[in-house]
Amino acid sequence: MKYDVLLYQSGLIVLMAAVIWNAVVIFKLSAVIKQNKPIWILPAFAAVLLAAAFCFHAYASYSLLPQMTELINRMASSDVMLDPARLGTLKIQMAQVKDALIWLKMASFTAFGVAALMLLMSNLIYLKWISK
């Protein structure tokens, strides 16, 4: 299902654009209240993290998953099924790809989470500034 991958990736890109806009707006708002602390860097970095999450997801979707599909297909062939040595090698390769997928998923969601935390922090700091 390629379209759901596109949906997710489009969501990430649009979210990244919203976060970049947030950084720009926070930069301008800080200038209004003459605050020199550059909290706009937080959402700017959040956008970078979202870009990283996008790259992780894209690499998993367009490189590792096809690789995994290929390995599964090869494993299903009768030649491999009857050859324990090749089966073992394939199993090791599949385990490596699976590990990479899980690591990427973890890294992607971590980047997603840290980006969210940074966005929240910058907006909270600004709100605190204008509430005292």
Binding site: A31, V32, I33, W129, I130, S131, K132
Partner: protein
């Protein structure tokens, strides 16, 4: 004591000398008008004129004519010992108002009295008389109505505009009322709020001020003290929303400081 007519009017100086109960001769020379007014213990006792704009008849008229010396010139006061002379009965406030009427009646001889009245953003109110003091003044309707309109709320520009009196005449009446000491200046004027807000917050500050004017439906050219206080309260709330209470207070304090 010596002074020039560009810094204070002769009428204003005469009133001050009278109110402080001084004795002596006030010598006036503005070129076209020259003469002296003698006061004793704060009362006008005599006056002589060498040159006046119009023929004079009697003491009151002479004083009125001498007080028309509003052009460039000088005056000096020679202090003398009190002689306990009989007061002429001329009320200084009354004679000053009469001299202002003369300016209005003879526009060809009038001079620019704008330099002698307060700026338009100042706020005036009727003077309180000290206990035991009595004054006798004859008012014309416009003079009384204008005096009554200065209630310490609106600025001069607003009062003059709302008075319904022709502007030039209203300014001359105001000159008379302030020179006679019937109006006093409050330590308050409407400051340029947008300018202060812009200095503090940039263009957004001016936008906040304009939004508050729209919200409170005030005409910034006809704003009284009550409106101004309400506006500042609204501005404090608005600026607090944008910058926080601490900074808003600093800005509002600057606005208050500018009223003094």
């Amino acid at each position: 004591m010596h002074g020039t007519m560009s810094s204070i009017s002769v009428a204003g100086m005469l009133r001050l000398l009278c109110s402080f109960g001084r004795s002596g001769e006030l010598l006036i020379d503005s070129g076209r008008i020259k003469g002296k007014i003698v006061i004793d213990s704060g009362n006008i006792v005599s006056a002589t004129a060498e040159r006046t704009l119009f023929k004079t008849s009697g003491l009151r008229d002479t004083v009125v004519q001498l007080l028309l010396a509003l052009e460039e010139g000088s005056f000096s006061f020679i202090e003398l010992a009190p002689r306990n002379e009989k007061p002429s009965g001329i009320g200084i406030e009354d004679v000053i108002l009469e001299s202002a009427r003369e300016i209005w009646k003879n526009p060809g001889n009038s001079v620019n009295i704008r330099d002698l009245i307060f700026p338009e953003d100042e706020v005036l109110r009727t003077t309180r008389l000290a206990a035991g003091r009595e004054i006798t003044v004859s008012f014309q309707a416009d003079e009384w109505n204008l005096l009554a309109a200065f209630n310490g709320d609106s600025d001069i520009g607003t009062v003059l505009e709302d008075s319904g009196i022709e502007r030039g005449k209203a300014e001359i009446i105001l000159y008379g009322l302030t020179s006679a000491g019937l109006l006093r200046r409050l330590r308050f004027k409407i400051p340029e709020l947008s300018k202060i807000a812009r200095e503090e917050l940039g263009n957004i500050g001016a936008a906040i001020v304009d939004s508050e004017f729209i919200r409170q439906k005030f005409d910034r050219k006809k704003m009284g003290m009550k409106n101004f206080v309400s506006l500042l309260n609204g501005l404090e709330a608005s600026i607090s929303e944008i910058t926080g209470r601490t900074r808003a207070k600093v800005i509002i304090e600057k606005m208050w400081a500018a009223t003094k």
